[in-house]
Symmetry: C2
Subunit: 702 residues, 2 copies
Amino acid sequence: MSQQPNSEGPEADEWSPSASAKAKRATLNPDLTVSEIEHGKRPGDVYVRKVRHHSHEFRRVGAGHFIATAESDVATHPLEKFYRALKRVLVGERLESAEEAHQRLNKLKALAVFGSDAISSSAYATESSLIILMVAGNAALGISFFTALAIAVILSIVAFSYRQTVHAYPHGGGSYNVSRENLGQIPGLIAAAALMIDYVLTVAVSIVAGAAAVTSALFASGYAAQLQTLDALLPPFFNLNVLLSLFFIGLITLGNLRGIRESGSIFAVPTYLFIISLSAMLIVGLFKAFTGTLTPADAPPILAVKEPITLWLILRAFSAGAVAMSGTEAISNGVPAFEKPESKNAATTLTVMATLLGVFFLGVSYLATQMGLVPGAETIISQIARAVFGTNAFYYIFQIATMGILVIAGNTAFADFPRLASVLARDNFLPHQFLFRGDRLAFTTGIVALGAIAALLVIGFEGKVDSLIHLYAVGVFLSFALSNSGMVVHWWRTRGAHWQTSLIVNGIGAALTTIILIIVAITKFEEGAWIVILLIPIVVGILELIHRHYSRVAQQLRIEAGETIPMTVNQLVLVPIDDINHASLRAIAFARTITREMVVVHVSTSAERADKVKHKVEKYAPDARLIILDSPYRAFVRPLLKYIDAVHSQQPDAFVTIVLPEFITAHWWEKFLHNRTAGRLRDEFERHPNVAVVLVPFLLEH
Amino acid sequence: MSQQPNSEGPEADEWSPSASAKAKRATLNPDLTVSEIEHGKRPGDVYVRKVRHHSHEFRRVGAGHFIATAESDVATHPLEKFYRALKRVLVGERLESAEEAHQRLNKLKALAVFGSDAISSSAYATESSLIILMVAGNAALGISFFTALAIAVILSIVAFSYRQTVHAYPHGGGSYNVSRENLGQIPGLIAAAALMIDYVLTVAVSIVAGAAAVTSALFASGYAAQLQTLDALLPPFFNLNVLLSLFFIGLITLGNLRGIRESGSIFAVPTYLFIISLSAMLIVGLFKAFTGTLTPADAPPILAVKEPITLWLILRAFSAGAVAMSGTEAISNGVPAFEKPESKNAATTLTVMATLLGVFFLGVSYLATQMGLVPGAETIISQIARAVFGTNAFYYIFQIATMGILVIAGNTAFADFPRLASVLARDNFLPHQFLFRGDRLAFTTGIVALGAIAALLVIGFEGKVDSLIHLYAVGVFLSFALSNSGMVVHWWRTRGAHWQTSLIVNGIGAALTTIILIIVAITKFEEGAWIVILLIPIVVGILELIHRHYSRVAQQLRIEAGETIPMTVNQLVLVPIDDINHASLRAIAFARTITREMVVVHVSTSAERADKVKHKVEKYAPDARLIILDSPYRAFVRPLLKYIDAVHSQQPDAFVTIVLPEFITAHWWEKFLHNRTAGRLRDEFERHPNVAVVLVPFLLEH
């Protein structure tokens, strides 16, 4: 009775005593259902009892099949708990994969989601032209209206050609897709590189321009001196514009990590506020202009004429203004997000968007040149608004609307970039990390990468729109040109109905955008376009390199039909020990469990000790083969490494398994009291293809 | 024939064909002697041939017993090769353990080796007193001669008491030994802490004073303005004195890492140069003083009287001068290094040393007060030398000799500190790393630690002797007091011949040094002694903590007589896989080799994929048990961790072995293209007492 306690007690049906080795073997049941072993107080008393499976962490749906519940992903470390809690507040509760929503956008919302980038560029494009023309004096500023006119004409042609893409590629006709499919892999990668660079610049330029709307309003309200003082206080590369931009980037990054389910509605507010208030400004402004009552709030300064008006200058002004066209291709990427009929709705939205952009850009340029406004600490568009409305509530609403649409425009890239990156990752051109969807089903890596690069760019260019803008248009027109060329090939290949017309439209688009690409690249080269021109082949090279790596890996991992796979490995188990004690005997017990022939190795710096170790090994591990390595130079790790190499050289494709005892100390500082031999050996063999290092832990209790 | 190529060819006696599994098992021979397997070109062709053992790396001295040759420790990585080559140049060729030399020193050399610390303090002790007295005006400076006289008397008593220690402890009677043996563990540790702090300060003070000899000579030669310019150019905490000191510390550290075999002769030159030149200076100086022709090179400045002469001021001047006595105990530590009869020779050397120190200190103090010299940018001893010799070759030789002996004095601590640290490490009070002898048989850790701490101290105190010196004397007198008290207990316990006399001598020594310790601690408290007073209990606490840790470890590792040690571990082998491919099948083959029951775990984020994996596992690893964990939140690592925890909870003392495939990429950047799952799992289980993680490498070829 006393030998088998409880065997006939009240819990007899729940408990059954067992001490056989067989019962012990079965104790760790991977299916988590059957039994749990409990040891009695006396040695040999072992109980098997049925236990609940871990239902709070895993739901068992069948033999060997579990679903991890939210519980199974609960953090345990306090620091991690805090991080998780913070993340939950910022990013929101996690979503299950099954919750992925496929919300469709109506035209109104789609214009907000996909059009904000293009429409918002009317807030800074005029100014970019004017800054170039300033060197030729106040009279030259008027030229900007004519460059704006030229750009508006080109915009209409490009928009028209994109309407065709939208119809031809209802599942999304981004430059990368269209170029890769029709022109080949390298043009596709060039388009991808151009697009990625462009998305980063979209974020940087839009956000910085959005921040400029705020600082301009402050400037207009008489805080010029305070702004200067603040800038002087901040470290180099930082000013209020940079700080505001970083704040906006952080906000958008977090917003996107939360996922963009409610995006349509959120985006609609600032976009339409901007459309309405800019329209109002243009109407009132044009009315005032025709009645001759439009005068600048502050008289524009007289500019010194430093250069004559040359064709070169005009082309540069044109190139600077051409940034207005960025974002035109956004809709062609997002056709599947439209309500049915997708292509038709997308095409209509595209037309509306291009029209709004053209009208806004021309209107702003007209009013600016009409008043002879000169760019300065206050943006041109803010100057116009003040001249039209006066420095009152209307003006502030307009500035807020400008800021709002620019921030929303930056947000567009946060949807596009991670999506493109995930497509590239799927095609093995980017690390597969870009494929991973985070807690809220957003592409975490792409979002964070975009936010980080844009933030660096903003800091590097000190939050100045006119510096960043020089980098901008090259990528835009490169992807236009590639996309249109791709479409030409597409029409030529498919030759459906009216293919000739379509081919001609896209052909004109391709030719025009190529010419502008060349103009932009040349005229902006010195001021910054060279960076992008240099960067594109580098990015393409990296994409190619990654692709090659993944292809090689896939090839090496692939199991060919009929291939024979070795069932076991030919292994030699080595146990390096310093002494025989509980820790090393535990390692030896582990080694004995995994092999029948183990070799114990002792690196000796003292013959006396080696003798002692030898006797102890003979006593406690008589089945082990002992090798003693005398180390006259007191080195430990390297002779052992060389010995393992020597053993290995007998048959390089055999496996050497090194079993090492390792202390786990109760306090962090205690680990400095033990040499790191185990860790060092593991590091040494980290890259060895036929050596596995097993650290057998030994817990040093407190 | 064609099936067994070469079996009867010309090399038949060397080659024997074999393809049996048994031959394969024996391929990795840990004894490196018997055979090497070679595979033929056709599958199944396996050859066994006798091979040379790796005679260049290992000399085989018996079955399972090798001696690692110097070859076995040859570096392979280019960076490591460079490091080794640099080390060889700086530190010298490695020495075998057997080459440890036991050089004995004659009295002349011993005075240089052990006496330089004490004798050299005559170069700065007078100045320390004068700096304190300056606040009471020029007239007060004369007091320093009387404090020097008092110190000289105390020195003679302390030296006399140490002569007894030398006789009683012929194997080395350091404070730590004597205190621990006679007073107990805590007093021993207090002495050890005091000594360690003292050794660090010996290095810092001596080296800084040595550097001051150089800067003083520059100052005296008219480079005052240049020195100021240089200091202005250097960053805060740095000046020429600091740079010179760091150079000297680096030099000594390297020298000590080389080993100090030729030390006796090297040390003799600067020590005797100083003894001779200082003697010459004193003789000429005293002669000039008595003939009334001794005048300062530059007239001493008139000092403002800021404080009256009080007992407190005199005691402070006394305490400042008491640093002269540092290093007096060095000989008692080093008795075994003397030629026979060790104790007698050591005692004689001790007497000579103390006499020289006393005479030098008094002489310098007399000449300084005689001329009314005032400390400034130039050291007092440099001022005296210029007054005595004039600013000529004699003066420069004297400065060089001063610099030389001070650097050598710093070197003394580099022999003492690592030796004490190794004794403490042997007694389990310091990390065992301090026991390790480097390439040249020197205690690498102790030497490097001392050099680093001293360097930080020099920088922290901006290379100023008079700041450092405030920290100095407390440790010195604390160890004097403990050592003498220990000797009192020793005589009382042993009661040999003349024990009463000996007890009285050490008793007077103990009383006197205790009184001075109290005076020094109080008078220097505010200026820096508080740091040392605070530090000593902290150091003792750390030593105790380390001791406790090692004791606990030893206790937990110790195998008790009659204890039963488990022969094997009860393990469950888990193989987490993402897919079935060559890499995961290799991990599965490894798992199959080490267990009969393995469990393959697939964390699934897609039911479709899970199905595919299931079919592949059934096909390629039918013997494995498959567990599928659905992860609806796309997490991978944590559900796996929780699953392993759940399995483990069934029997916490059973062993879970996790076998993971891990890619080894050809280029460093490629590893960023693969997720770090394997590494992350290993890190997660790093501190788990019953989980071993085996990474089965899979080489991704280029």
